[in-house]
């Protein structure tokens, strides 16, 4: 295993120093760190962050390998600075058994570019009717800790209560896609002035907020952990703030696109801007940024959702919802200027690693810590060119935008997955 000496990196914004990476861990930190035969990486001006951790990734394998595979998604993740991703369960077949989650986990191991941690489905087939074998998934080789029907809301309150209770046995967490389905029948776009004008069925904020409020109360009642996926409204931020004050064990994530874009993008009817939950308003964006900075929202998660061309190059209402996110997340968060380097490390690595129960991730580079880290050039800018992304899909909403920050290198357990801004495989 090659030894690397990273010279002149600023660890989470601190004074530049050198890092020695050997045998999968950070062996030494400091200007005197050295080892004979080490490969030197000039990191002058670069920021070293703990490897990013994504709580919410759709890798599409098995089932839609034309849109993404574990391999292509892993490459996209590494290029985005990630060392761990939680792969959502809405594959085909659904990841609702130990067999499927182990398959995904093994594909991740084989790809070797990022720790792929499968998320298990809460209910069989994501149908929202009866619990999947959560314990079997937890004790499988994949060691599932996060369970989610993402894409669908676990809308039956009794079933949700049971799920919250049941996973306590193995320290699991239910990640809820908060969407009251009866309020979003046929919904296409944030319900507001624009949806009315464009004649697109509205997705009201209350459909998200009502479920978050309900589930927070349920989690409090049964003393369970609850995680809220892709919070998108100002009202949700308020409810989560209140729930945390009340001592409820609730965590929440926000996507980069909800931190940057608004429903105004839908004016063109270009479905690249169609996503679930939908892009909201300026007020919501401001509240989400503030909530993230404050810690009411615990983490940034990409909701990376690759889609084949034919699922996006069509009419808005026939298009599938979702956007690419892994390769742009860090740059988008940087562009919002709402977080310091420490804030970025906290919301994109340390806290999500904690929520997912990933001990080897989310730790700032220090002697003895597993070498999962990424080096970012904060001064570089780049223009998003969909065809140049590593994802098999092209549905980025940021095409043509010039973004700040470029991931120059990523290390997974001491091995480089990205060097000189390029994936190592």
């Amino acid at each position: 295993m090659t030894t690397y000496l990273i010279k002149g990196a600023s660890i989470v914004g601190a004074e530049p120093t050198d890092l020695l990476i050997r045998d999968g861990v950070v062996a030494a930190v400091g200007r005197d760190a050295a080892a004979p035969g080490a490969e030197v990486i000039d990191a002058d001006g670069l920021i070293a962050l703990p490897g990013l951790v994504d709580l919410h990734t759709h890798l599409r394998e098995p089932g839609r390998e034309d849109a993404e595979t574990v391999m292509s998604g892993s490459r996209a993740a590494a290029l985005g600075g990630y060392t761990a991703v939680c792969a959502m369960a809405n594959t085909d077949p659904v990841a609702d058994t130990a067999g499927v989650v182990e398959q995904v986990w093994r594909l991740g191991q084989a790809a070797g570019l990022v720790d792929v941690r499968p998320v298990g489905a809460v209910t069989v087939g994501l149908a929202g009717e009866r619990l999947a074998e959560l314990g079997a998934m937890a004790t499988s080789a994949a060691a599932v800790r996060i369970f989610s029907d993402d894409g669908h809301c676990v809308s039956d309150p009794r079933l949700m209560r049971r799920a919250l209770e049941y996973v306590k046995a193995f320290d699991g967490v239910i990640a809820q896609h908060a969407e009251e389905p009866r309020l979003t029948v046929g919904a296409q776009l944030h319900e507001g002035e624009l949806s009315g004008r464009l004649g697109l069925a509205g997705w009201p904020a209350v459909a998200e907020e009502a479920i978050i409020a309900r589930d927070a109360l349920l989690a409090g009642h049964v003393g369970s952990r609850l995680h809220i996926c892709h919070v998108s409204t100002a009202g949700s931020v308020e409810i989560i703030r209140g729930a945390k004050r009340a001592g409820i064990r609730i965590t929440a994530e926000v996507t980069p696109h909800h931190l940057l874009l608004t429903d105004a993008r839908a004016e063109s009817y270009d479905p690249v801007f169609k996503v679930n939950p939908p892009l909201r308003t300026d007020t919501d964006v401001a509240a989400l940024r503030a909530g993230l900075a404050e810690g009411v929202i615990d983490a940034v998660a990409t909701d990376h959702a690759p889609h084949a061309v034919e699922d996006k190059e069509c009419e808005w209402q026939y298009a599938r919802p979702g956007m690419l996110g892994l390769e742009t997340a860090l740059s988008i968060v940087m562009s919002t200027k709402s977080l310091s380097w420490d804030g970025i490390a906290e919301r994109m690595s340390r806290v999500p690693a904690r929520i997912a129960g990933l001990d080897g991730h989310g730790r700032d580079p220090a002697p003895g810590v597993p070498a999962n880290l990424t080096l970012v050039d904060p001064a570089a800018t780049w223009v998003v060119e969909p065809a140049e992304l590593a994802s098999l899909s092209r549905n980025t909403p940021y095409a043509g935008m010039e973004l700040p920050g470029r991931v120059m290198a990523t290390f997974l357990a001491g091995r480089p997955t990205v060097l000189d801004g390029k994936a190592t495989k």
Partner: protein
């Protein structure tokens, strides 16, 4: 005011007609004036004009709407355009060829204009990105139907002599109505005052940002209007609890003889068709002399001729 004769490439209606918002007052008035001249010509024995000879107009209909298709077809043929009808059955679920692939086919055929009717809001906007010819929105989902608004405005102007200062009530399922959206935009552009009337469930969220007034009380509005337009209400809305029953809807928002008497002497009654007689409009109201429903159909051809002429007349 736009003067097309002096500067043919400035102002007026250019490119596509996707939304009533594409038309400013000058362009909208030009369409109506042109339609009036074309209507006069259609009274004569030779109905065909050579104007669009050699041009191809495709009617691309993803929804059954015989009336609209025939209206566009007649309009194109009276201007001597070659007309190709392209009906696509089925919905998103059973989708065969994609809209984009169809667009590329039409592009290869050299369509100068594509008239599109589609169940999905915004489909004409998508199409306009994929073809070089002019795209005319003949009704997209619950979004817009700009030529219907133009023919409604034309009908109002020919009955009442003006549009500026008219008070127009549009009654019913505004939420799902492309006719209401296009009319609200166009009538506002042309200086009319629009009031949208309906149960609160059928007025869109955010309607307060539209350039219109709203009311839940039809009877209070009627004495003040010059035009009352009843929108088609689909019975399936009942199942979705937008209102309790057809009977209650008719009682609160249907245009019946008693309500007709509340209108000022000169006021007219309009309906974009097809009607649910006994629901949003009573049979005796639909057939009354105040009703413009039959003229609306005839005016539709003239207005669509004007739109095609102005879009294609100058296109190289």
């Amino acid at each position: 005011m736009t003067n097309l004769e002096q500067s043919p490439d400035r102002g007026g209606i250019t490119g596509h007609l996707l939304s009533a918002a594409d038309l400013d007052a000058a362009a909208a008035t030009q369409v109506l004036d042109t339609a009036a001249e074309l209507a006069a010509l259609s009274d004569r024995s030779v109905k065909k004009l050579p104007t669009l000879r050699g041009r191809t107009v495709v009617n691309l209909f993803y929804e059954d709407s015989t009336r609209t298709r025939i209206s566009f077809e007649a309009a194109a043929k009276r201007l001597s355009a070659d007309v190709i009808n392209f009906s696509v059955k089925g919905s998103s679920v059973s989708k065969g060829e994609s809209l984009k692939d169809t667009a590329l086919t039409l592009q290869a055929m050299g369509a100068d204009a594509v008239v599109i009717r589609h169940a999905a809001s915004g489909a004409p906007h998508r199409l306009a990105r994929w073809v070089d010819g002019s795209v005319v929105n003949a009704g997209d989902g619950t979004h817009e139907h700009p030529t219907q608004a133009l023919l409604d405005a034309y009908t109002m102007r020919s009955r009442l002599g003006r549009l500026s200062g008219l008070t127009v009530a549009i009654v019913g399922d505004v939420l799902h109505s492309r006719v209401a959206r296009s009319n609200a935009l166009l009538l506002n552009t042309l200086g009319a005052d629009v009031t949208l009337v309906g149960p609160p469930t059928l007025l869109p969220v955010g309607v307060d940002s539209w350039p219109v007034k709203t009311s839940y009380d039809l009877d209070a509005v009627l004495p003040t209007v010059d035009v009352v337009m009843a929108l088609r209400v689909q019975r399936e809305r009942m199942e979705d609890s937008f209102f309790p029953s057809a009977r209650e809807y008719a009682r609160r928002y249907g245009l019946d003889a008693a309500r007709l008497r509340k209108l000022p002497e000169h006021a007219i009654v309009m309906h974009p068709g097809p009607m649910n007689r006994g629901m949003e409009i009573a049979p005796d109201v639909a057939d009354s002399p105040r009703s413009t429903i039959v003229e609306q159909v005839a005016n539709g051809v003239s207005v669509r001729m004007a739109v095609l002429y102005l879009l294609l007349g100058g296109q190289v």
